[in-house]
Symmetry: C2
């Protein structure tokens, strides 16, 4: 690398455990699993702590909730490095728009503004960039969100991979809405808004040149409308999360840990399309760990379960909504699945995403 | 590249002029000069247009101004790909924090929250990442701004350059503050807050392994406090901009064009430190085009010129504040400099940044 050692003073920084096991960055540090969590907890959080203004330092993977001038805002960011850039049903552009819309929406906020930061590699085709940009515009228009500011940088050939896109988004949280792990409690219904595993398998199929009979397309979609319809109906939603990297398994594990509750799901109730299940079998993947880009997991007060399911099923992006389990008092921090053969198994947080560069 | 041609339909996208001159991305598309402007005007703006919510599509290089729940917000983003990552006086981490703080501040907003999106390259040293993250935290604390949310992605070795950092920032615009090109008018004083050219030369010196006698360090600094002090004193500021990529020359050109005014500066009044001038001579650069990361150009009502200078000079980051020229009615859209030998020359918008990957 080009760093002048004369200006690099690393002696004042000592690598905390357990990061010492990995003196350099490995793919898993970006995978949304345990390695990612360690990097956040032991490197980023200590470094960023003590920044002022009374904004509680967030978990850095979710949207942050902020107060500004009397308004309550949600703010989130995501970088997209998916490979390949085009896959069945979408490309890196609409993925980058939908992904940040969804992160903001999970707080209950109505996203209204996005920023776009592009890192382009020298030599990328301008017409391909044009198609990606148009996909971004189309996705934003469909979701009713504006792209309001941006930045473009170019790196020399060999130092990028065509285009990396960062989007950040702001949403306005309606009065009275307060969602989060602090509201999750035993008895809550765990509802997933539809079929899982589609995005990860769609990307994987092109990357590996696999054919699974029918083409599996990404589920990439904006979820702000679905969230709006739940909240507008007064459904007692306690928390929502979009199960992207690490899939439903990582999402449930994180929420179990931060809320201090246990989760129990019924494996055969989890909606996995036949072709996704077949592809997962072929690839040796567990669909619970495969990324989704147009699904949410909602924790809903038990008494509102049926109404929530009805409202979600009436929505374009919630037609496959399904109750997959409940929050329990037992085994706080642990997710267990009732298996098809009548037993139970622990659904652990993965060490890393099974599929690198899926978003 | 890995794109499956089967999923890439480029036929519906036709490359507009003048982008056709460059069928692929070149370094200059990220340089903040004419090539960057063409990409924004002819590719991104058409693609993103028509996104809803009545937010006027911004110039995509500045902070956007938004209304939300009664609050007026500024929102900006920047990606940082500077090479090398460590340079005299700073590194990519504090640069990424200061840069977005400054973009937000130029609207007159008080920045309060930042997001951080990291694209890490497999194989990057964890301790180096630690030093960069700590520099980000320190810069945020110094400026009184919080890092509230983030995201980390990892790309395979050979598809990155250690670390690329995106920061997005939100600020709150105080009541009654309205800055922008629509307020710039003939007679306005053009004030630069201090010595120019330092950041670009500091980076260049390490990249090229040059020695210029004394070490030139980056001017990277947060300007929110300086802006606050001007506005709190009631100075009639019409517009501010931080002259980063493309330097003071690009900044003045952009504002001349968007405000429909002419600019006249006096070359010998522009504060260029001797060592920067010597380095520029050696490298064949014009200091007016070299990037700054801790300076602002302010357009101030003529009657407030002396007060503005006094207030800026009393501030840590404005001690070298200097009047460099005035806005004029003549030659709208054009910047001219009175040269040392009594003539004048046109200061044009550069085609591209003279120095790639400077931020």
């Amino acid at each position: 690398m080009n760093d002048p050692t004369g200006h690099l003073d690393l002696e004042n920084w000592s690598c905390p455990l357990p990061l010492r096991d990995y003196p350099t960055i490995v793919m898993g540090h970006g995978g949304g699993g345990r390695l990612s969590a360690e990097l956040i907890e032991h490197l980023f959080l200590p470094a960023f702590s003590g920044t002022v203004n009374d904004i509680p330092l967030n978990q850095l993977g979710d949207a942050a909730v902020l107060e500004a001038g009397g308004a309550r805002l949600a703010f989130s960011t995501d970088s997209y490095v998916v490979r390949p850039r085009f896959f069945p049903g979408g490309n890196i552009g609409d993925l980058a728009v939908n992904g940040t819309i969804n992160d903001v929406s999970m707080t209950g906020a109505r996203p209204f503004a996005l920023s776009v930061g592009m890192v382009l590699e020298e030599g990328m085709r301008i017409d391909e960039l044009g198609v990606i940009a148009e996909a971004m515009g189309a996705a934003a228009r469909r979701a009713g969100v504006s792209i309001v500011t941006g930045d473009t940088k170019v790196v020399d050939a060999g130092n990028g991979d065509g285009v990396y896109i960062n989007t950040a988004g702001i949403g306005l949280i309606p009065a009275g809405i307060d969602l989060g792990p602090h509201r999750v409690r035993p008895g809550d219904a765990i509802i997933v808004s539809g079929a899982i595993g589609m995005h990860g398998i769609a990307v994987m199929s092109v990357r590996e040149g696999l054919e699974f009979g029918s083409e599996i397309v990404t589920d990439s979609a904006p979820l702000n409308g679905l969230v709006d319809s739940l909240l507008a109906a007064g459904i007692e939603v306690h928390m929502m999360r979009d199960p992207t990297r690490g899939g439903v398994a990582a999402t449930l594990n994180e929420i179990a840990k931060t809320s201090g509750t246990g989760m129990r799901i019924v494996e055969r109730d989890v909606p996995v399309p036949d072709d996704v299940r077949a592809a997962c079998g072929f690839l040796g993947l567990d669909p619970l760990y495969v990324a989704n880009e147009g699904k949410l997991v909602a924790f809903v007060a038990a008494h509102d379960t049926e109404r929530a399911l009805d409202i979600m099923r009436a929505h374009e992006f919630g037609s496959g909504a399904t109750l997959i389990g409940h929050v329990v008092e037992e085994h706080p921090g642990v997710v267990v699945a009732k298996t098809g053969i009548g037993g139970t198994r622990v659904v652990d947080l993965p060490l890393a995403e099974q599929l690198p560069r899926i978003c």
